[in-house]
């Protein structure tokens, strides 16, 4: 079944993964800017990373018939040094004009610190100034519930961001309801050890419905699975959900959210 993986870090994946995703009928993906597993030593490192996201990865994906889009930002794990983060933010506007850029992301919080929050607020303002959509990273594990609330408060305090143009990712059973209740889109990340398994993601769909909800692999350099979305499709089918319901969560919903950007022109 056709699907979109709306959150995956292909800079960390091999070309074999592109091939396997294409064989599983992935037609498009979106790649948010994230932490590389180490702190970059200069803003120039981000300049090169943004070139990789806007020049190199679209070419790698196209070789397998997959459309590649991206989101740009400085991620919260490298946002504690406010001065450094501001230098990176200053690089972003020139890249926002590139053909495969959908917005600002994945911004958010990691440890819920004051400096992380300052940089989050400045990147929300950047999105508002340039009319960009937002993709949000929520903190891991014990920090997620508090961080999700702080992030939503910061977005709504800005006043210029429409909640329907914001996807808050990595929701789990204790955060999905609050995100949807405030009018945001919510993403479920399918990880083997943390976040959601495909089984739990389907449980959440069964509990809350599939409106303003999507699933993604967030495949990266850690334990993760670039084929997690088709595995969740299979999990839905084995429980007896219809193919239309499977397509809604894995294809139709990503199309609906992402088509708010005029740059996202994927035909099904």
């Amino acid at each position: 079944m056709k699907y979109i993986d709306p959150h995956i870090h292909m800079v960390s994946r091999t070309t074999d993964d592109y091939a396997r995703m294409a064989q599983a009928d992935c037609i498009a993906l979106t790649e948010p800017a994230f932490w590389a597993g180490f702190d970059r030593s200069s803003p120039q490192g981000f300049f090169d990373y943004f070139r990789q996201l806007t020049e190199t990865e679209p070419r790698r994906a196209a070789a397998y018939g997959i459309r590649h889009y991206c989101w740009l930002c400085i991620n919260p794990k490298e946002a504690e040094d406010v001065g450094f983060a501001r230098e990176v933010i200053a690089l972003i506007p020139e890249f926002l004009q590139r053909d495969n850029v959908l917005g600002i992301g994945e911004i958010g919080l990691n440890k819920n610190s004051r400096n992380e929050l300052v940089i989050l607020e400045e990147q929300i303002a950047l999105a508002a100034e340039h009319g960009q959509m937002i993709l949000v990273h929520t903190p891991h594990l014990e920090d997620k519930r508090k961080g999700t609330k702080l992030i939503m408060d910061a977005i709504q305090a800005n006043g210029a961001i429409e909640p329907g143009r914001v996807l808050i990712d990595h929701v789990e059973e204790h955060t999905v309801e609050m995100v949807l209740d405030r009018g945001f889109w919510a993403g479920m990340t399918l990880y083997p050890d943390s976040k959601c398994t495909p089984q739990r993601a389907v449980d959440i769909i069964e509990t809350y419905g599939s409106e303003r909800l999507w699933i993604n692999s967030a495949g990266d350099w850690g334990p993760s699975d670039p084929l997690a979305v088709p595995k969740a499709q299979v999990e839905m089918l084995r429980r007896g959900h219809s193919r239309a319901d499977v397509s809604r969560i894995s294809l139709d919903n990503p199309l609906q959210f992402l088509r708010q950007s005029p740059r996202f022109d994927v035909d099904v």
Binding site: W35, K77, E80, N110, K111, N112, S113, R114, N115, E116, L117, P139, H140, L141, E142, D143, K144, R145, K146, K149, L150, E172, E173, H174, E177, L180, D181, Q199, R200, D203, E206, T207, Y208, G209, R238, R239, G240, H241
Partner: protein
């Protein structure tokens, strides 16, 4: 947001048949983990905060009140509402250590 009941298309018996063995194995993994901790050397007098949270979560599973996944995640979560002063370590531990830990 209303939560949906009867929204899993599987009949109860079929769901048990499909998932029981997998979750039996996961439960035994938890049991064996706790047994393993009991055989370790240099054991502290009190459980590590993560293990204490795990034991509390296991007890919650038997209370019959449902919403187990959400309630366990809440139990593991930082209950605060304010940002912390500085980020320090990038990683998370999986359970809330308390404000003074």
């Amino acid at each position: 947001m209303p939560r949906r009941a009867d929204s899993c298309p599987l009949p109860y018996r079929q769901a048990v048949d499909l998932y029981f063995m997998e979750h039996r194995a996961k439960l035994l993994d938890v049991a064996a983990f706790l047994d393993r901790l009991g055989r370790t050397v240099e054991r502290p007098a009190q459980d590590d905060f993560r293990v204490a949270a795990l034991r509390e979560a296991i007890a919650l599973l038997g209370d019959g009140k449902g919403e187990y996944a959400r309630r366990i995640l809440d139990l593991f979560s930082d209950p605060g509402t304010e940002p912390i002063a500085t980020a320090g370590e990038k990683g998370a531990s999986g359970a809330y250590p308390g404000p003074t830990a």
